[in-house]
C-alpha cells in the first residue's frame, strides 16, 4: 500500500469541506471553543453579580448598646449609613438567632487601663451561619474602623503631629500573588482547553468512520483507485486538524476574553496582572495541543471505527473520552508541582505543561519530556490502528464487537 500525497490532499479537502457543512461538527469544533469562555464567564459573572446585588440591597438590622456619650458621632455614622438600620430589642441574642436582628453591638469598658480618655471595647454578637448577619458584622467593622481612623487623625492634629507619627507605624499590604479566584481559574483553564480539544476531535472521528459506514460511502471509498493508506492518513489528518482547530480557537478565545470579560470579575484589580496568558507561551501550548490532538484523534478513530452508525460511534468513543479526562481531573490540585514523574503521565503532563506556560513558567527539560511522551503515545495509537485495519471483517464493518473484544481476541491472541 503506497501513500500518495496528492490523493491524501484530495481526500483531506473533501473531508474538511464536508465537515464545515455539518452543524454538529461546526458547533462542537469551531463555535463552542470560541464562545465557551466569554459566554460561560459572562453568565457566571452576571449570575454572581445578580445574587450579590440582591444581598447588598438588604439592610443590616443592628442594635447598639451603651455607646459612650463622648462617641455620639459614631452613632451618627451608623444612622447615616444607608445599608444599616438601627433597631432595639429586649432579647437581642434570641432575635439574632430567629433572624429578626442581624447584629448586636455592645460598647464595653476597655479591657485594660489604656490611659486614653473615653476609650472603649466593642463586642459584636452575630450569627456567622447567616449571610445577612455575617454581612452586618462586616459593615459594623467597616464603620467602627473608619470612626477609629478619623478619631486618631483628630487626636494627632490636636497634638500637632502627623497621624503616622502618632500611630508610630501603619500597616499597608501589597499582594504580589494572584488572589484565590484567579489561581482557581488558572487551574481550570487547561482542563477546559483539553476538554475542548477532545470534543473537537470527537464528532469528526465518528463522522469519518462510523458515519461513512452509515452512509455506505465506506464501500465506495474502498473501491476507489487510491491506496487505503492514503484514505486513512487523510481521515486521520482531518480529525487531528479539527481537534487542533478547536484547541487553537479555544486558546485564542481565552486570550481575548481574559482581560475584557474576566478582569471585572476580580474586584479592585487585585491579581488582574495574572489574568493574562503570555503570548510567548503560545508555541509551547500549541505544540502540546498538536501532539495531543494527534493522539486523541488516533484513539477516537480506533474506537469509533468499531461502530456501524453514528449513534453507536458516540457510545463507543464515550469511554475513551472519559478515560482521557479522568487523569486531568486528578491533577487539578492548586499546589501540585510539575515533576519528572508527572511528565510521564500522558494527557495530564500536557495539562501541567500548559498550566505552567499560561503563567509564564517554562521547565524546558520537563516540556521536552512531555512532548516525547505524547509523541510515543501517538506512535503506539497509530501502531494499534495499523494492526486493526489489517483485518478485513473490521474494514468491512462486519466485525461484531467492541475494541475491547477485538484487542483480546486478535491483538492479544486470547
Amino acid at each position: 500500500m503506497v501513500l500518495n500525497w496528492k490523493d491524501v490532499r484530495v481526500l483531506y479537502l473533501r473531508e474538511i469541506r464536508s465537515a464545515l457543512r455539518d452543524r454538529t461538527i461546526v458547533t462542537n469544533s469551531v463555535l463552542l471553543p470560541i464562545f465557551l469562555y466569554p459566554v460561560l464567564i459572562w453568565l457566571a459573572y452576571t449570575g454572581v453579580t445578580f445574587i450579590s446585588g440582591q444581598n447588598e440591597e438588604l439592610k443590616s438590622r443592628i442594635m447598639l448598646k451603651d455607646l459612650p456619650a463622648a462617641h455620639a458621632p459614631l452613632r451618627k455614622q451608623f444612622e447615616t449609613d444607608k445599608s444599616v438600620v438601627l433597631n432595639t430589642s429586649p432579647n437581642p441574642a434570641e432575635d439574632i438567632h430567629t433572624g429578626t436582628l442581624d447584629a448586636f453591638v455592645e460598647f464595653l469598658p476597655p479591657a485594660s487601663a489604656s490611659g486614653v480618655a473615653d476609650n472603649f471595647a466593642v463586642r459584636v454578637t452575630f450569627d456567622e451561619s447567616r449571610d445577612q448577619s455575617d454581612r452586618a458584622k462586616t459593615r459594623i467593622d467597616q464603620i467602627i474602623s473608619k470612626y477609629r481612623d478619623d478619631f486618631l487623625q483628630q487626636r494627632a492634629v490636636s497634638l500637632g503631629i502627623s497621624r503616622e507619627q502618632y500611630q508610630n507605624f501603619k500597616v499597608d499590604d501589597k499582594n504580589l500573588s494572584s488572589n484565590r479566584q484567579v489561581s482557581a481559574f488558572m487551574i481550570i483553564l487547561p482542563i477546559f482547553f483539553i476538554v475542548m480539544l477532545a470534543v473537537g476531535a470527537m464528532h469528526p472521528a465518528i463522522d469519518s468512520t462510523a458515519g461513512e459506514r452509515e452512509n455506505s460511502t465506506w464501500e465506495t471509498m474502498m473501491a476507489a483507485a487510491t491506496s487505503r493508506t492514503s484514505i486513512l492518513v487523510a481521515k486521520y489528518f482531518y480529525v487531528a486538524t479539527m481537534s487542533f482547530i478547536a484547541a487553537f480557537l479555544n486558546l485564542f478565545a481565552m486570550m481575548a476574553s481574559m482581560g475584557t470579560v474576566l478582569a471585572p470579575m476580580f474586584q479592585s484589580g487585585r491579581g488582574t496582572s495574572s489574568l493574562r496568558i503570555p503570548i510567548e507561551s503560545a508555541p509551547v501550548i500549541l505544540a502540546g495541543a498538536a501532539l495531543l490532538a494527534l493522539f486523541v484523534s488516533a484513539g477516537m478513530m480506533i474506537f469509533a471505527s468499531f461502530a456501524r452508525n453514528y449513534k453507536e460511534g458516540q457510545s463507543m468513543v464515550g469511554p475513551f473520552y472519559i478515560a482521557l479526562i479522568m487523569p486531568i481531573m486528578f491533577f487539578q490540585t492548586p499546589g501540585l508541582a510539575f515533576t519528572t514523574r508527572m511528565a510521564l503521565v500522558p494527557v495530564a503532563n500536557v495539562m501541567m505543561m500548559i498550566r505552567e506556560a499560561m503563567q509564564g513558567i517554562y521547565h524546558w527539560p520537563l516540556i521536552g519530556l512531555t512532548l516525547a511522551v505524547e509523541f510515543g503515545c501517538v506512535i503506539i495509537a497509530l501502531r494499534i490502528a495499523i494492526l486493526i485495519i489489517q483485518h478485513e471483517d473490521f474494514v468491512m464493518g462486519s466485525y461484531n464487537g467492541s475494541f475491547g473484544k477485538f484487542a483480546k481476541e486478535r491483538l492479544l491472541g486470547k
Binding site: 455539518d22 452512509n215 483507485a225
Partner: protein, 251 residues
C-alpha cells in the same frame, strides 16, 4: 488477447462466530468480453455481492484468481481500481457535497488526468441532465437524481469496466428503467459491464451473457438463447428455477 475480466476458481470463505466457516463464493469461473454486459443472476445471499466485492478489490479472495484489464485483484489492486467503476446497491454519496463536487472528487481520486477533470465534470453533468442540480447538495436531491449522480460518479474517471451491484433496488419503475437505459447506453459506448440482479426481466433485457449463481456457485453461464436451448424453457424465470432446483452445472 484475453478478455478484460477473467475470473478463475474464485472463492471466499467467511468466519462467523455462530455459524462457523461459511463458503460465500465457491470456486467460480467466468469471463466478460469487451463491450458486453455480463449478468450475475441470483437470489439474495447467492454470493453476487461477495463476487463483485472481490472483483473490485474490496474483499480479498480466499482462493482463485481474477484479473481486470490484466491487473490481478490481489497483486495489483490499485491497477484494478483505476480501470473499474463500482456502483453499489445504495447510493453511497457524500450528502454534504454538491453534484459538481461529487463528480469532481471521484474523478480526481480515481486518477483521471487533473487537467481534464473540469471538462469531464461538465460533460457528465450534461450527459446525465444534471445541469439544474449541479450546485445543489446531494442531501437535497430526489432518489432519482441521486441515482443519476451515483452513476455519474461511477463513470467519472471513464473506466473500461463497470460493476453495477443491484442498481435498481429500491427504485420505482420509471427510475429503474432510466438506470437500465443508462447501462445500455454505456455498453454502446464500449464499456464492459458486470451487472448483478435478482430481477429476471432486467437480466433478460440487458445482459449479453447471464450466469445463474446460487449457494456461492455458478450453475450455468451462457447467452439467453443458449440457456433457452440447453433447458428447453423460454422464460428466464423458469430457466433459473430449473437450474437452482436441479443444481445442474453446465459451465
Amino acid at each position: 488477447m484475453s478478455a478484460p475480466v477473467v475470473v478463475s476458481n474464485l472463492a471466499k470463505t467467511f468466519y462467523d462466530e455462530g455459524r462457523g466457516r461459511i463458503k460465500a463464493v465457491d470456486s467460480i469461473s467466468f469471463e466478460c468480453h469487451e463491450g458486453q454486459i455480463f449478468g450475475l443472476l441470483g437470489a439474495n445471499g447467492a454470493g453476487k455481492t461477495t463476487t463483485l466485492r472481490m472483483l473490485s478489490t474490496i474483499l480479498t479472495p480466499t482462493a482463485g484468481t481474477a484479473s481486470i484489464m490484466g491487473h490481478d485483484v490481489v497483486k495489483d489492486p490499485e491497477g484494478v481500481r483505476k480501470n473499474l467503476g463500482f456502483y453499489s446497491a445504495t447510493t453511497a454519496l457524500y450528502p454534504r457535497l454538491t453534484t459538481r463536487e461529487t463528480i469532481e472528487f471521484f474523478a480526481r481520486i480515481n486518477q483521471y488526468p487533473s487537467e481534464r477533470v473540469p471538462e469531464r465534470v461538465e460533460y457528465l453533468i450534461h450527459r446525465f441532465g444534471l445541469q439544474k442540480y449541479a450546485n445543489a447538495r446531494i442531501e437535497k436531491l430526489s432518489s432519482g437524481m441521486k441515482q443519476k449522480v451515483s452513476i455519474a460518479r461511477t463513470v467519472a474517471h471513464d473506466p473500461a469496466i463497470l460493476i453495477f451491484d443491484e442498481p435498481t433496488v429500491g427504485l420505482d419503475v420509471l427510475n429503474a428503467l432510466d438506470v437500465q437505459e443508462t447501462i445500455s447506453e454505456l455498453r454502446s459506448e464500449g464499456k464492459t459491464i458486470i451487472f448483478s440482479t435478482h430481477i429476471m426481466s432486467e437480466a433478460e433485457r440487458l445482459c449479453d451473457r447471464i450466469a445463474i449463481i446460487h449457494g456461492g456457485r455458478i450453475l450455468a453461464s451462457n447467452t439467453l438463447a443458449g440457456l433457452r436451448e440447453s433447458t428447453g424453457q423460454h422464460y428466464l424465470e423458469d430457466i433459473f428455477v430449473l437450474y437452482v432446483k436441479a443444481g445442474l452445472e453446465t459451465v
